[in-house]
Amino acid sequence: MKSFFLNVDIFLCLLIFCCLYRVLKGPTVIDRMIAVSAIGTKTLIILILVGFIFGRVDMFIDISIVYALLNFLGTLAAAKYFEGKGEC
């Protein structure tokens, strides 16, 4: 089961590198924000599966909760900023 979790982690890392293409080449700033938000969601899952691999799920779940909160707040703050600025 640990090797299965490890393979899932490696595949998610490959998907994160695919999302980085959109972060680098996005035509608008909102495109980059969407890609960063998707990367944050994938990182949340990677943290939980790394906790299963290391056998310390109780610690890694707390880190993952904090990561989800920070991702959500960052997305909302950037959306409010660009909405008030009026251009992007």
């Binding site: 089961m1 299965f4 899932v8 595949f11 998610l12 998907l15 695919c18 999302c19 293409y21 959109r22 035509p27 608008t28 909102i30 495109d31 924000m33 969407i34 890609a35 938000s37 998707a38 969601t41 994938k42 949340l44 899952i45 939980i48 599966l49 299963f52 799920v57 109780d58 779940i61 707390d62 993952s64 909760i65 989800a68 909160l69 991702n71 959500f72 997305t75 909302l76 950037a78 959306a79 409010k80 660009f82 909405e83 009026g86 251009e87 992007c88």
Partner: protein, 122 residues
């Protein structure tokens, strides 16, 4: 005999976890494909906003199936509920910001058949 039963229940546990996590991985892959290949900001947002949410729900359900029911699985359920509320909210806020910034949605290019249909309405 009880050890055999325990082993059978553990295997069913892990098989359910593998199926759920495999489904989540599939939805992550499709949402990343949509993020890379769709032509417009709004359609990319449509792909990631729904695909990532469903993938997180499936993978966390698989983790709960693997881990069993205790305090840690309650925390996993908390993450799942939070992502289920927060991820569409963030996507909606970004979409509203893009719309107020004046980014036009992508439309299909007009072909010759469309123009003749517009000129001569049946």
């Amino acid at each position: 005999m009880p050890s055999l039963l325990d082993f059978a229940s553990l295997a069913a546990n892990d098989i359910a976890a593998i199926i759920l996590i495999g489904g989540g991985i599939f939805f992550f892959f499709t949402s990343t494909l949509g993020l890379l290949r769709f032509p417009d900001l709004y359609s990319r947002m449509h792909a990631t906003g729904k695909g990532d949410t469903l993938a997180v729900l499936l993978i966390l359900s698989g983790a709960i199936c693997h881990h069993g029911f205790n305090l840690n699985s309650a925390k996993l359920l908390l993450i799942a509920v939070f992502v289920f509320i927060a991820n569409p909210t963030g996507t909606h806020a970004l979409g509203r910001a893009a719309y107020r910034c004046g980014i036009k949605p992508w439309v299909r290019r007009k072909t010759a058949a469309d123009q003749t249909a517009e000129e001569k309405p049946s």
